[in-house]
Symmetry: C2
Subunit: 335 residues, 2 copies
């Protein structure tokens, strides 16, 4: 069977499960462009992330997991801005048109799209090495977005969920993660732990529910994609302050505590990234309300540090000199 | 020299030539997302196109040309909607960080970005096979966009510029283009013709000036990316009408007339694509005004057919049975 680009779009993408209507979408897929109406009191929040086979996920990963992760990491950027998801576009290149793969991929997108009421409004399909470039669009009330700037001395620093699982999961997938490893070969880890890390990597949960509910209490926020040292560093730099992290306070999942040594966990949390949790600062007076919001969502929330005058990120409980964030380009040396 | 992702963005992308301010851009590059203000009487028009090395441009093409073409074909979609460019995002994957390449690439983007006042507002850089996914954002007054639907029997069909040059240029670049060829080996073509085709391919001109000025006179529009048979077919299908094209009327560039036989030119125009001209329909009463707008812009404008009751695209002057549009996926056969 020959699938043209038009066939692929019609069968797998411009389908009711994925390209469903919303009142703000005046024109969806099928023309030269899509058209959005942004209500006057709202702002449009835009973020884009591209995932490349072999770099951002293993070549042979299941299509529905690749799709889920691709949309989830984009939605996580909306959570970090406290923007409500509106819609997304997809630029997909794939080496061949395989109908089973496409159906699974479409299904993985649709699962999150429906959960967060964030339909597909357009895109582009081409032939090439497998790559998924997604752009998400969200809405927030004018002036109510969360930015990286806004941290002030005396505020406390928090993180949702667990940290370190993302890069520990990468280690489990066979990707080179220097100085981060499980304390036994993957196949000897308990089955429930392997399942936990697999889900942490492929099915990260965008913290939208928490972000939207807690936004009025939050001074600044970022999602943890480079590791806490790097991401808290972005908050500190944008806000012109310093941040002191308490290494003893970092929240690890039960699976991480069981399967990785203290040093690996600490490096994974501080330098690993791929956790897609929210890291933010807030006035200490808000703490009980923040904890109540998280508890309502069954989401761990942990105070991990504080904002101080000065600059940079400090972690007195750990010797982090010479540690640096995971960087997708740090090993490129032509210049 | 080691270039991190942050270095690359700071040196080549988040620079004043490319990420310049506009009042509608409330937050540009540097946070988890960008923020746009869309005025209440306007709509946001969104289109995305990804270009893959080896499929959409030759692997070794000059960086500034790849950049120019990538942004130009996206802006062409805004022209087809009669939307004024606002800003764009870029998801770039590249196999290595080469500072000369990046500087040239950034310069190619900046040239068009400044001409059309369309700054970069964010993006993503990753390592992988060379690919450029751009999303453009435009503004149009509510209800004033041009769609593919709107053609009515009795209207005339027009095309801007020349048709066929895009795919003839591809043939010149050594890409397989069945039944489309120059009438001599490339190296024997006159230098000015080779320069013409090179520019037609790498520096297509988005017809924004014409589209914005002529939009009130136009019933429906599309940009020619698949060839006139396919693209006029999209207008016909969306509008529930037929379109009759006059093969004798198709406008070829002097270079195409000089370097390609009649059959190659016709196939290139009807089935080739990559021309990024505007094809549209309009009431015959508007013709002199349309011609005057085009003349003011020094842009050829040609009446190439008419809208009729019925369906499909017909071209009585040419035997096009069995011809079909160029499709980036038509040769994929797994399903």
């Amino acid at each position: 069977m020959i699938l043209t680009e038009r066939d692929i779009i019609g069968r797998y993408f411009n389908v009711p499960e994925l390209a469903f209507p919303r009142p703000e979408i005046e024109l969806g897929p099928g023309d030269d462009a899509a058209i959005l109406h942004v209500p006057e009191d709202k702002r449009l929040v835009i973020s884009t992330d591209a995932l490349v086979a072999g770099a951002h996920f293993p070549e042979g990963a299941a299509a529905e997991l690749i799709a889920y992760r691709s949309l989830a990491v984009n939605l996580s950027d909306l959570a970090a801005m406290a923007a409500e998801p509106l819609c997304f576009t997809l630029a997909l290149t794939l080496p061949q048109a395989d109908s089973q793969w496409l159906e699974a991929f479409s299904g993985g997108l649709a699962e999150l799209a429906r959960e967060f009421r964030c339909p597909l409004i357009g895109g582009d399909i081409g032939r090439g090495p497998l790559q998924i470039a997604i752009q998400v669009h969200g809405l927030c009330r004018a002036g109510h977005e969360l930015r990286r700037e806004g941290a002030g001395a005396g505020q406390k620093v928090y993180v949702t969920g667990w940290v370190g699982d993302g890069v520990l999961a990468l280690a489990g997938l066979g990707v080179a993660t220097p100085d981060i490893a499980f304390n036994a070969p993957l196949e000897e880890l308990p089955e429930e732990c392997r399942a936990h890390f697999h889900a942490a990597y492929f099915r990260p949960r965008p913290r939208l529910g928490f972000a939207l509910a807690a936004a009025p209490l939050i001074a600044c926020a970022i999602d943890v994609s480079d590791g806490l040292l790097g991401d808290a560093g972005h908050l500190a730099a944008a806000s012109g302050v310093g941040i002191v992290l308490d290494a003893e306070a970092l929240p690890y999942s039960p699976a991480a505590r069981r399967c990785a040594g203290e040093e690996s966990r600490l490096r994974a949390a501080l330098c690993g990234g791929d956790d897609y949790e929210l890291c933010f600062s807030s006035d200490p007076a808000n703490e009980s309300r923040l904890m109540a919001i998280a508890a309502d969502l069954d989401l761990p929330l942990t105070r991990i540090g504080e904002v101080v005058a000065g600059e940079g990120v400090h972690c007195p409980g750990a010797d982090v000199s010479g540690w640096s964030s995971f960087d997708h380009y740090a090993c490129a040396v032509e210049g």
